[in-house]
Symmetry: C2
Subunit: 338 residues, 2 copies
């Protein structure tokens, strides 16, 4: 069965990216692969909840201390499953943002093609690259101009060249701006979600270890009775502490600090100041232009939505994030509201 | 395909625990379910590595800054996949420890059955519980003694009762000791592994965010060139910092501290002192006994290995942790040695 599942993914991988424009091929494939990751994470999450239930069910028949502690461990494991489920929702947000880069890539493709087409229609640059084609077209226009400065053919050629170039330049700027904006947004979102998820699960693991202390693991001789279990309140208090810690978790007080070495810090600062200075210089030289830089991003955001449908294959559309049929099979020993 | 996989697990769940003694049924099922979790985690790990590769492949065709940063993000994502793989290995250790509880449960079953059989052979306690059966047998012996104090039947009955009781008491003590010892060991191992994994992944997420700062996301106007990329050294330094942080991670300096509230702390301490006091009292009263408590654990550890085979179904035995056929399809953009 495991093999089937794997082959299933392998097949999807092969077909992924075989639709949609060439430029967006690689990202189309990435988006499909991320869907596979999400599906597998959903399996882990669901199975973790089932394990949580089973740990609790097994413990029921044991002595009081083992029974209580395994029941509470079941609660913690179930909570991990729930956190995994929440993380998948956020992972989907990341994936949707990556999709928007794929969409702008797909939307830029036609203007690139028109640019080539303009040259091709004069049979100048067939098989050549864009820059070479453009140069040849300019040379061709110059030649025509020398022969007859008032040729109507020259004017038509020049107008077409200007139009195609303008469209292409705008499209490429949109692609550059949106790709960077969305790439940064997508991975910022993904890394933030990952950090939050990991820190919360690490917290749960810590509280789980406190629970284990309540088990009486001192060995007994045959026939000897164990001390009466007096840990019910303690285990409840630990679960309560865990719940509070999860609720109080805030990103700004993330425990796992990531400090760069002074070298990495200096190099990163140099890079950021390069970006800032270039941007500042640019702002000054273009201060009289009526054009708002940010409009490139905004305009194409709207446009890129139009390209959404062409990538949605039937399979993807038919799979819901939370299939109710599966959710009903989940059984929860107890739930933390975090 | 997803459905097939799920049904596959559902079927395994139904058949799991239908072999092996009754006592070990629930844990047998848990052990099977944990195998499912491991398989799904393996899928996530493998697919994460594929995603890492694809992010890097996509970025290749982009501008220098995007290309370099996505390549390094690929390295980090691949590292997460590798950490997940290591975590699965440790998860398997946890599962093997849970299995050893299942084995002692299975090994205790025959002595419980013999205890019942002893009573049953005299048709005294058919359908009754153990304690009641034992009481009835004792009453029966008392009656026989009153009739004829020197009856040979009484002697045989008494000897059989003592033998069955002794065997059962030893078996139950072994079960109690080993269950607690192994349960604590299994979940301590699992929670430690989980905490280490989570803290390391949180570290990687943090370094990933530093990488994103190197992308020039200031918007450009059509035809405008971006600042030359000067972040190669910075991105390398960030990856190096990340590598160092992962290598230097030690459990004792775990960043996500789990502090109990004073109430939970007090209650846990009360519980631990109950265990300690009972254990101490027991040690004093039994100080002259030649029997080493710990030998119960050790003896049955050896015995429990004998029960290993009966639970291994063909499927489980045939699936390797690291199938080479799959590993070959993994492609790694670059690897951190952590």
């Amino acid at each position: 069965m495991f093999f089937f599942h794997f082959i299933g993914h392998a097949l999807r991988r092969q077909t992924a990216g075989q639709f949609g424009p060439d430029l967006a091929k690689k990202l189309s494939q990435l988006v499909k692969m991320e869907k596979n990751v999400m599906r597998s994470m959903e399996l882990v999450s669901r199975e973790r909840m089932e394990v949580a239930h089973q740990v609790s069910v097994w413990g029921e028949a044991c002595d009081e201390d083992v029974s209580d502690v395994t029941d509470k461990i079941g609660v913690l494991l179930y909570e991990i499953g729930e956190l995994e489920d929440q993380y998948i929702d956020r992972y989907d947000q990341y994936r949707v943002t990556i999709k928007s880069i794929r969409n702008i890539e797909a939307s830029v493709q036609p203007s690139r093609e028109r640019m080539y087409l303009t040259f091709d229609s004069y049979l100048i640059c067939k098989g050549s690259d864009k820059a070479l084609g453009k140069q040849k077209l300019i040379d061709h226009i110059t030649q025509l101009k020398c022969k007859d400065p008032n040729s109507s053919k020259v004017m038509v050629l020049e107008q077409e060249l200007v139009r195609a170039e303008a469209e292409s330049l705008v499209a490429e700027a949109q692609l550059s701006n949106i790709t960077r904006e969305k790439l940064k947004a997508a991975f910022t979102y993904q890394f933030d979600a990952l950090r939050e998820h990991c820190e919360k699960v690490a917290l749960i693991a810590g509280y789980g270890k406190h629970l284990l202390e309540l088990i009486d693991d001192s060995p007994v001789t045959p026939g000897e009775a164990r001390a009466t279990y007096d840990g019910y309140e303690a285990s409840k208090a630990i679960i309560q502490d865990c719940e509070d810690a999860l609720t109080c978790w805030v990103k700004d007080q993330a425990k796992v600090d990531v400090n760069l070495s002074s070298r990495a810090q200096a190099l990163s600062m140099r890079r950021r100041s390069t970006i800032r200075n270039h941007d500042k210089g640019h702002d000054l030289t273009n201060q009289d232009l009526p054009m708002d830089h940010y409009s490139w991003g905004r305009d194409s955001n709207q446009k890129s939505d139009m390209y959404e449908e062409q990538f949605e294959d039937v399979e993807e559309a038919s799979v819901e994030r939370h299939p109710q049929a599966f959710r009903e099979t989940d059984s929860c020993p107890e739930t933390i509201v975090a």
